[in-house]
């Protein structure tokens, strides 16, 4: 299978043994873009390059970063850049690698972004469990300060910026940008309401704030170095540049791959020897999650779809944060559905009613089915409760909740029940999965039979 090729932009130092050090970074071309920006470009020119690159945010929503930067109200200071490194969705682990393997690239991206935004303070919020990434970032930041890449009068210019590192305390919801801002302020990580709290207008400490994903900013040095036009020429016109996807599940070689955006297909990722090298045990795909646990599931008929934002959106799901989970033909769909719903129920912050009560209810109903106590009316009940969280159970989801966490628990149920209703019915009728699928719960029950 031949796959489209492209330059390695943000993973270029993954194979350099000392790529995470200042010396290794500078030796491999690091901090050139920053020098270029502060010495020969105006902030507006930097912003224009990012706009020209048409890079979509890599955090999940896929909103064009250059456009987002333009939302800051003119003349309101202080303003902040917040970097969301609280990557916590099941199957998502690209930002962690970027922070561990190439921390200086991220720092350079942050400083350039601050230059473009006229911000003098950035907050880098890293997930609490990522100890290695935290160490690497702290070391790198110290080196960057010592080398005058961060701090006062960067590279001899009159531009100064400070970066503050903050570690999370282990809450998935803090990946939601307004909850992250609350957490940064020292409050419980619970989302704010939009409106009125659009971060670009009323963000951190009620000041204008841009929240960007780690991968988005890691691309900025390349965009400034090579030009936005160069970046845009890679990938598809509707999904520019290279993009990282984290593939996990029933594939032979799970991992993170930087692929040309918008032109690579799911099948290529799963089957090409450069990437995952096929489904385990020579099996076949039964379903897969195209973009994180909150996405609607895809099925074999979607395998040849390109990893292109508008295409995937139109097909009723999303690329999200680039977490792809493959499920082969042996997967117990009821159990898979329950595992994902359980994640969201446990990670609900508890602020609003539908998510707090609804996700837990869904989880309990599914668990009851797995335990062999499902009732015929439970399938309808799952949809009814889902309807109370996400009216219409449509894509993109509508929500009665404050943030999208609640509707996230609805996607796996809607996907699994609609496609594999017979598996749920089988559980309800027989208290065990259909033949041919593996389920830890069924094994457990069988031993008691």
């Amino acid at each position: 299978m031949s796959v489209p090729s492209g330059p390695r932009i943000i993973t270029s130092r993954f194979d350099v043994a000392d790529g995470h050090t200042y010396a290794g970074y500078v030796r491999t071309g690091g901090y050139v873009s920053l020098r270029k920006a502060v010495s020969s470009m105006t902030p507006q020119q930097v912003h224009d390059e990012v706009k020209a690159a048409e890079i979509q945010g890599r955090g999940g929503a896929g909103f064009p970063a250059g456009t987002k930067w333009g939302f800051l109200p003119a003349g309101v200071h202080p303003r902040y850049l917040v970097i969301n490194g609280d990557e916590s969705e099941p199957g998502t682990y690209k930002d962690r690698l970027l922070m561990e393997r190439d921390p200086h690239q991220l720092i350079e991206g942050i400083v350039i972004a601050c230059y473009a935004l006229n911000a003098s303070q950035a907050f880098l919020y890293v997930r609490g469990e990522m100890a290695h990434a935290q160490e690497r970032l702290a070391q790198a930041l110290n080196e960057a300060y010592a080398s005058n890449m961060v701090g006062k009068n960067i590279c001899g210019s009159d531009f100064s910026v400070d970066i503050t590192l903050t570690w999370g305390a282990g809450a998935y919801i803090v990946g939601e940008e307004t909850a992250l801002i609350e957490s940064l302020e020292g409050e419980r990580g619970m989302p704010r309401l939009k409106p009125p709290f659009f971060p670009a207008v009323k963000g951190l400490y009620m000041q204008p704030t841009i929240v960007n994903n780690v991968e988005t900013l890691a691309n900025v040095p390349y965009i400034v170095g090579q030009g936005g036009g160069d970046f845009k020429s890679i990938g598809a016109p509707t999904s520019t540049g290279m993009r990282m996807f984290a593939v996990s599940g029933h594939v032979n070689k799970p991992g993170v791959f930087e692929v040309p955006n918008g032109v690579t297909t799911f099948r290529m990722l799963f089957e090409a020897p450069e990437y995952c090298g096929g489904i385990r045990n020579g099996g076949s795909i039964k379903a897969f999650i195209p973009g994180g646990a909150s996405a609607m599931w895809f099925f074999p008929e979607h395998l040849d779809m390109a990893l292109d934002k508008p295409t995937v959106d139109k097909a009723g799901s999303m690329l999200g944060s680039g977490a792809i989970v493959a499920m082969d033909q042996t997967t117990d769909m009821v159990a898979a559905c329950w595992r994902i719903v359980r994640f969201f129920a446990r990670e609900s912050c508890g602020k609003c009613t539908p998510c707090r009560e609804g996700t837990t209810w869904l989880e309990r109903v599914l668990k009851r089915m797995l335990d062999g106590h499902g009732r015929p009316e439970d399938i309808d009940l799952l949809f009814e409760v889902s309807e109370s969280i996400s009216p219409g159970i449509a894509w993109p989801p509508r929500q009665t909740t404050i943030c999208p966490l609640g509707p996230s628990a609805v996607s796996p149920i809607a996907s699994a029940v609609r496609r594999f209703r017979h598996e749920f019915e089988h559980y309800i009728e027989h208290g065990r999965p259909i033949d041919g699928v593996e389920s830890p719960f069924a094994t457990h029950l069988a031993s008691h039979a």
Binding site: S348, G350, T360, W361
Partner: protein
């Protein structure tokens, strides 16, 4: 065509087919409710910032981008919005949220205090799906757990609406409760080892939309459908909060705050909320008492009135009217005070005072006046007052709110930090007696001058220190009024109806006839008969030595009271008075707002309202005051006292009440002066009240009585270090030839060089060191 350049002051929208006008910035939920469409809700409360957490108030809005479901408590109104509160999608969403709220709710309504007046119960019926499909096991917690001395929390009933926690942080400024845990295990909780000891905790019980928070005073006392209620005004302090007085089986069981814009916004302090218990106390005086062989024994009204009349007649005949004095009137209604003033007038008694040497000269009410609302709307408030959080708690809430909204800057000048200090723009400490100088200095500070030029200036002035002459605060106020001629004054006297009683005539009618002068005259043998009308000088007059000497030498005491207090014990005749909730009338708050107090229950025993006792006593003395009924009394009062004229209409004193008429304001002409500086080895004494003390209404309320603390000497840590004394050690304070021994409490709220002792607490009585004729009290502190 209208001029499009003019800013639009209203927007029009359609709610359920009716068109509604609203002000830009209004929330959709208020516009809907104004239009007559009730939107179910739990977390939304009009006096707190919206949080959109319960998600119950979802409505459907048609905008430029089609129809969408929005949370009406977080969505501002917009021109042309078409809103449906009852469309199928809106109803489906509302029912869905209610089913989810009920999923883990225990539905123990039959044993829940809230059942019958429960927003969750009511809205489950009106907007719920009718039945639950939840068959999983519900959440379980230990229930209920006390989170303070007054409040219990049942976490199973809690729907996590954030009302109590928001109130604690946002309104009261006591963020002592918060959410803990996450997701389905989220619960409201105090911090470890820190109870929810807020002075305002009762409000959380009132605003809880379920039965999760209950008060120790009301738990299991009544069912809502057995309650009778009437709107009234709290007279515990001079803020005059509007309340609802509720009774069951002719016994008071609960007070609830009523939201009036001009005063309390629905809030009450715990002292005012829970001291109804004292009305029900078994220790109330139920029938007249007369001294017989040294003890007070029950008697009949005719015997008691006859005896009281005989005493008064004898003294008046033998020594003339100056041998009779009357202290009191501030605990009753305006009409009570008026009747007693009429009686005094008819007898020629001029020595009468509603204040107990612990208030302010009556002329403060004649200074240019500001209302509470005007004070809170002033860009600058100068605080020359006691700790409002302790003494006028709901005024503290209002001023705190104004400061937090950044519309008001508070300049505080006090000998110790107060509840408002952390919200003050400037908070300056001073030695007692030095306030005029410190204020004059501040008035020439450039920042302050700038600030004072930004609009209205209100001086909130009161008796901040009972061990200091009130003259200094008066002079300091005069300094502000001289520097800012447009400044106005909000006098904050503590006792409920001081202002009404003074206006009604219970104030000295000649110089040197205030309470201190009366007591001095008694001690000098010039006054032989003292009439106490709801007054307890032995507990309340700061100069303990004076009042003790007076009571040791007084010949006759006639007391009208609800309890046998320290002072009443000395009476020959005790006439039982009706308490709050047992009589009708009007009261006047610190800003001069007259509002009604209502009768809810039958009076205890044969007790009578103060005014009736005055009228009866007058008849006994051969005087007809012309009062035979309450309406007659009120008509006489409002027609003969110009200030009360606006209260003539019975409707005017309901709800918001009505401001009394003001005559032309007087000016303070005295030149500011300060007391002599203290000697370096001495401390200057600050004595002030705290919320829970040995006041009779607190002491006789079982819920509140345990909250009164032991007295202690509060001293700055720097001074304590200098003296080498540790926290808790016993120290001797001596001054004016007297000494008291009290434990030391290290407290950096107190300025250096000052020691602060709370008034009327358990333990040694600090009043022994206070002399009414000594301007400031300097004390020597010795470690023992």
């Amino acid at each position: 065509m209208t001029d499009t350049a003019a800013p639009k002051t209203t927007v029009s929208l359609t709610v359920d087919g009716r068109s509604v006008e609203a002000t830009p910035g209004d929330l959709l939920i208020t516009a809907c409710e104004r239009s007559g469409s009730f939107v179910p809700h739990f977390c939304y409360h009009p006096r707190m910032s919206p949080v959109g957490m319960c998600r119950q108030c979802i409505v459907e809005v048609e905008g430029p981008r089609g129809k969408s479901l929005v949370v009406s408590c977080m969505t501002p109104v917009a021109d042309g919005q078409v809103v449906s509160t009852t469309s199928e999608p809106a109803k489906r969403a509302q029912e869905g949220v209610l089913e989810l709220l009920l999923a883990n709710h225990p539905l123990d309504c039959p044993v829940c205090d809230k059942g019958g007046e429960c927003p969750l119960q009511d809205q489950a019926f009106s907007h719920g799906p009718g039945e639950s499909r939840y068959v999983e096991e519900k959440r379980h917690y230990e229930k209920p757990i006390p989170i303070s001395d007054l409040v219990f929390l049942d976490r199973e009933r809690c729907i996590l609406c954030d009302r109590c926690t928001r109130f604690a942080g946002e309104v009261a400024g006591d963020p002592l409760i918060s959410f803990t845990s996450r997701g389905n295990n989220t619960q409201v909780m105090t911090f470890p080892d820190e109870p929810f000891s807020s002075y305002f905790s009762g409000n959380t019980v009132q605003i809880c939309p379920v039965g999760a928070l209950t008060s120790s005073a009301y738990r299991f006392k009544a069912r809502p459908w057995d309650l009778e209620q009437v709107e009234s005004t709290c007279t515990t302090c001079s803020v005059g909060c509007r309340t609802v007085v509720q009774s069951s089986r002719d016994e008071l069981v609960r007070y609830q705050g009523v939201d009036v814009e001009s005063v309390n916004w629905g809030w009450l302090c715990d002292r005012g909320r829970f001291n109804f218990e004292s009305v029900n106390s078994r220790n109330r005086v139920h029938s007249p008492l007369m001294r017989k062989d040294g003890t007070l024994v029950e008697t009949t009204w005719s015997t008691a009135l006859d005896a009281a009349g005989r005493i008064l007649r004898t003294v008046l005949n033998d020594k003339g009217p100056d041998a009779v004095s009357i202290i009191g009137g501030a605990r009753g209604t305006n009409e009570d005070a008026f009747a007693w003033a009429q009686l005094a007038d008819s007898l020629g008694v001029t020595a009468r005072d509603a204040q107990l040497g612990d208030g302010l000269p009556a002329e403060v009410f004649a200074l240019p006046q500001a209302t509470i609302a005007e004070a809170c709307a002033s860009p600058t408030v100068i605080l020359l007052a006691p700790d409002l959080k302790e003494e006028l708690p709901v005024l503290y809430l209002r001023l705190r709110d104004a400061a937090e909204k950044r519309t008001t800057r508070i300049i505080e000048v006090s000998p110790r930090a107060t509840g408002l200090s952390r919200y003050a723009w400037k908070s300056v400490r001073h030695d007692p007696g030095d306030q005029p100088r410190v204020v004059s200095e501040l008035l020439s500070d450039r920042d302050v001058v700038d600030q004072l030029s930004r609009g209205n200036v209100t001086v909130v002035m009161g008796r901040g220190n009972l061990a200091e002459s009130p003259e200094f605060t008066l002079l300091a106020t005069g300094a502000v009024l001289a520097a800012v001629p447009t400044a106005r004054v909000l006098p904050v006297v503590r006792r409920g109806n001081v202002r009404g009683a003074v206006t009604a005539g219970m104030t000295p009618q000649r110089p040197d006839a205030d309470t201190n002068a009366i007591l001095s005259s008694i001690a000098a043998g010039k006054v032989e008969c003292l009439v106490l009308v709801g007054a307890d000088p032995l507990s309340d007059v700061p100069d303990a030595d004076l009042v003790r000497r007076a009571f040791a030498s007084v010949k006759h005491v006639i007391a009208v009271d609800t309890f046998v207090t320290e002072s009443v014990r000395h009476a020959e005749v005790v006439l039982p008075a009706s308490a709050y909730g047992e009589k009708v009338g009007t009261t006047t708050n610190c800003e001069g707002r007259v509002s009604d107090v209502a009768q809810k229950i039958t009076t205890a025993g044969t007790a009578r309202p103060d005014w009736m006792i005055a009228a009866e006593l007058a008849l006994e003395l051969g005087v007809d005051l012309g009062i035979s009924s309450y309406p007659e009394l009120r008509d006489t009062m409002t027609s003969s006292i110009a200030a009360f004229a606006p209260a003539a209409d019975a409707k005017a004193v309901r709800g918001e009440g009505v401001l009394m008429a003001q005559s032309a304001p007087i000016r303070i002409t005295a030149t500011p002066r300060s007391a002599a500086p203290r000697l370096t080895h001495q401390f200057r004494l600050h004595v002030s009240r705290v919320m829970y003390d040995r006041a009779v209404a607190t002491n006789e309320s079982p819920s509140l009585a345990p909250l009164a603390r032991e007295a202690a000497v509060h001293m700055n840590s720097g001074d304590a270090q200098r003296l080498g004394v540790r926290d808790g050690a016993s120290v001797r304070l001596s001054s004016n030839g007297s000494a008291v021994v009290l434990p030391l409490a290290i407290d950096d709220a107190v300025a250096r060089g000052v020691v602060s002792v709370p008034f009327n607490q358990h333990g040694s009585d600090i009043r022994q060191l206070i002399r009414h004729d000594v301007a400031v009290t300097d004390v020597v502190v010795e470690v023992i």
